[in-house]
């Protein structure tokens, strides 16, 4: 028995390595994906190392330097309350990418945008699998409800949801999830419709497997490629949506460093001669969204090419 256990671990490890290695090979084969990865990694490291990269607190105000441009003391300048823009950007990136504030002092790892997409994936995949695999009237009901949701303009849907439940990080997660669900469900349903015709699904059926097992164990793992790429794009859209909500005053309550609300408050001073407070957070949003899109596009192209 020991011999066979050993052979499992020996056989399993190289395969695990090979899988990662194959993934990286695909990634590095695409220049687009590498550029995207660099941008995304820049923001992730910046968010993780925020306290090391700036001496200022994102909420500390400096009344002597309001709306100042980039200088040695404040590399990206300060906003109208004299807060350091660089540190606000870094701490803002934390909320987007690496931590989710759920209470006064309670934080969850992974950022708001990522939680929103994950929650959307959970609900969307389930609905898509159920609709696609079971079909019939269940499919009709689920898909028509989701169609109705998709009929709303996205911004309007966000505003309705936040207006109804109030502005907080958890509610932004909820909004991102609700808005993302129909699209994810549609994608997963399409993949399921294809995968369910394969013979290995027939084999599972004649083994008498439960429907849940077939959906989540036999079908879902084979749909993972397109779902992962779609999810990356969705994180980008979610960051965009967070920016929009913040800009409209529906994001995180002040004084939290929220990129969207930073743009909104800096906007007033653009014509007054200090565009910095609006420019930097706009660039931050744009670069992160573009980075995620490049990464997803590069991966998609490269993985399709060698199929």
């Amino acid at each position: 028995m020991t011999a066979s256990t050993q052979s499992i671990s020996l056989a399993a490890r190289p395969r695990w390595w090979r899988r990662i290695w194959n993934g990286l090979a695909i990634l590095f084969a695409s220049k687009t994906a590498v550029v995207g990865l660099i941008i995304v990694l820049f923001w992730v490291t910046a968010a993780i190392c925020a306290p090391l990269l700036t001496p200022y607190s994102p909420t500390a105000q400096d009344y002597r330097a309001q709306n100042s441009g980039p200088s040695a003391a404040h590399i990206l300048g300060t906003d109208d309350l004299g807060r350091d823009i660089w540190s606000r950007l870094l701490y803002g990136a934390r909320i987007v990418l690496i931590m989710l504030p759920v209470g006064e002092h309670v934080w969850l790892p992974l950022g708001t945008a990522i939680w929103g997409v994950l929650l959307g994936l959970l609900v969307g995949c389930t609905l898509g699998l159920v609709a696609g695999y079971l079909g019939g009237w269940i499919d009709e009901v689920v898909m028509r409800v989701l169609d109705a949701m998709m009929a709303f303009p996205v911004i309007l849907l966000y505003m309705i949801i936040i207006a109804a439940v109030g502005a907080s990080a958890t509610n932004v997660v909820l909004a991102i999830a609700i808005v993302g669900t129909p699209g994810i469900a549609r994608l997963v349903r399409g993949l399921t419709l294809d995968i369910r015709t394969r013979d290995y699904i027939r084999a599972a059926e004649i083994r008498g497997e439960r429907k849940l097992y077939i959906m989540f164990v036999e079908i879902l793992p084979n749909a993972r490629g397109p779902i992962v790429i779609d999810a990356m794009l969705r994180v980008g859209y979610a960051i965009f949506a967070m920016g929009t909500l913040g800009f409209l005053g529906l994001g995180l309550p002040p004084p939290s460093p929220d990129w969207g609300s930073m743009v909104a408050s800096g906007r007033r001073y653009i014509l007054a001669g200090s565009p910095w407070a609006a420019l930097w957070p706009s660039l931050a949003i744009a670069s992160l969204v573009v980075g995620l899109n490049l990464l997803a596009d590069g991966l998609r192209e490269e993985s399709m090419r060698y199929q």
């Binding site: 028995m1 084969a29 013979d199 027939r202 084999a203 059926e205 083994r207 497997e209 793992p221 993972r224």
Partner: protein, 703 residues
Amino acid sequence: MIADHRPRVPILAVRDLAIVYATRQGDVPAVRGVSFDIQRGETLGIVGESGCGKSTVAFGIVNFLGANGRIVSGEILFQGQNLVGKSEGDLRKIRGDRIAMVYQDPMQALNPSMRLGDQMAEVLIVHRGMDRKAAEAKCIQMLERVYMPDAANVMKRYPHQISGGQQQRVVIAMALLNDPALLIMDEPTTALDVTVEAAVLDLIADLQRDFDTAIMYISHNLGVIARVADRVAVMYAGEMVERAAVADIFLRPSHPYTQGLMRCVPRLGQDKTSSYLYPIPGRVPSPQALPPGCIFEPRCAFARRECGQRRPELREVAAGHWASCLFAEEIAEQGWKPPAPAEKAPSPGASAFPPVGARRAADRPILKVEHMKTFYRVPSRRLFGGREYVRAVDDVSIEVRPGETLGIVGESGCGKSTLVKTIIGLETPTAGTVEFMGIDIAQPVSRRSLDILKNLQMVFQNPDSTLNPSFSVGAQIGRALRRFRKLPGREVRAEVIRLLDLMKLGERYYDRLPRQLSGGEKQRVGIARAIAGRPEVVLCDEPVSALDVSVQAAVLNLLLEIQQQMGTTMVFIAHDLSVVRFFCDTIAVMYLGQIVEIGPAEAIYMPPYHPYTEALLSAVPIPDPRVEQARIRLSGTVPSALNPPAGCRFHTRCPRKLGAICETQTPPWQVAATGQRIFCHIPLAELSRMASVITLKEAPHAG
């Protein structure tokens, strides 16, 4: 053929052709050192298993190698001019419209959004500058030439409105419109049913006689090659290993690989009790890791020390007979002797499954299907029509006794797959009963008890979709074991390995993912998964039809071994009549949802025949040029199962139709002396007077 006084300049001469494909892992030498000639009016058959480079040669000739393929050396002389290294424009000038190509899938060659007449006429209008009227007249003439019924009408139709066989005729007609000097056909009949295939092959033979075109015919099917080719070239792993006249290839194969291919295919008339298939061991080497000596040496039964050291050249071993084997003369002379019976001894895994001889004695059928109907509901095309039904299986009764193998043959759309799907529970019967081990199982699979599920399992057709790509081989077989055998977790692994050994795969396959397996290996894992719960009955839906012949033989042997060791009852679907004849004890022939003839295997292949069986047998390609088959070709196409013909369903195409009785009355079941039952109006006495369809004629030239 009349003696030709002109100097024989070959239409196509290929010299030392080498083609590589660039991939992420570097250049793959797909074709190396291939040489051959094709003369005017001659058909050269190129035969080989998948991946041997036969299509690459064809694409090289027409310069369709794609972005990553290129010719690295050699010459392609078309009517004396070299095509290699010429620019696209020069090529067009030399080649002009003198080379035409016909592919496997006619739908790829026809534009689905254009009328057939328009796309055919376009060829003439563009290339010949003909005016529309003349072009259309010529097209109709050509369609009639390829025996297209109602040619003028077909011109107005779209590709999807005609059947696959007719589409292929249109493609062939289109290829011939410009009167090409060379016609390249890449598996043109592989996607077609056997009766349609036979008609297309007849057509090719007729056209070659009339047009005097040189034809390069690529196929993996030895039977097809035997029927159409004058000369045959055998390819293996990117090289040409043997080249000779068709009779020499089949009667005096001089390369061990060619001999191996011949042994892999069951001849019509062989069965499992009297003969055995000898698969070629091992697998085709990857082009990047070729053996240092002879490329076939690792798999060759004759291999000696020299074979591993130097690579043999293609050399003339007899007049007009070329082979690349160091010992070709010897091999051709002595032929191949089957290995000692030790090879047939049960494999190490055998002890796991004690033979269940006692069950065989029981005479009660283990599986009994009575008057079963399976209809699919489709929405009517009429506005207020309600619903219509596709009568996929219509009143079928079969019985299978323990340990027996029932074969079901028929062309696509005859309902054989639906029959099996209904038995296994993936479809629910509309009427009739299905009894399994004395229990009524006419219900969907989700309502069956675990005991029924365990004892009734299935092997699927398509090796690429039979395994879940996300899980390892061990995990997939283990899952079936856990479901059906309730083994404790630690024993599952040992049992999976025992099953893998039984499949001749071994423990090293345990952790592999399906994409790391070849087609044959995937199919073996599929079989292992099906027999993991030691089922009483295994339904096999064309388990070998997607496999290469050498692999097919190995999988068939494996199924036979399992059956002998476990006493498993099998229902075996196939469209290949020689495979069914080899493998099955009882055979049912299906046509349009009904069984037309059923009986012991040997009786089905002898008169009396049902007229449909007779037509099938006359169409099946046999890999032996000495065999003479009666030429019985069915007219028309299979009627729609939505609205099947009244009376005998076969009457619309039957060459032996009696008259009105066939159109109005359901035929009776007649029991022949040889044991089969025939569903036909023609009196048994008359059916018994039929001549045998397949006869062996003497070789045209002895030796």
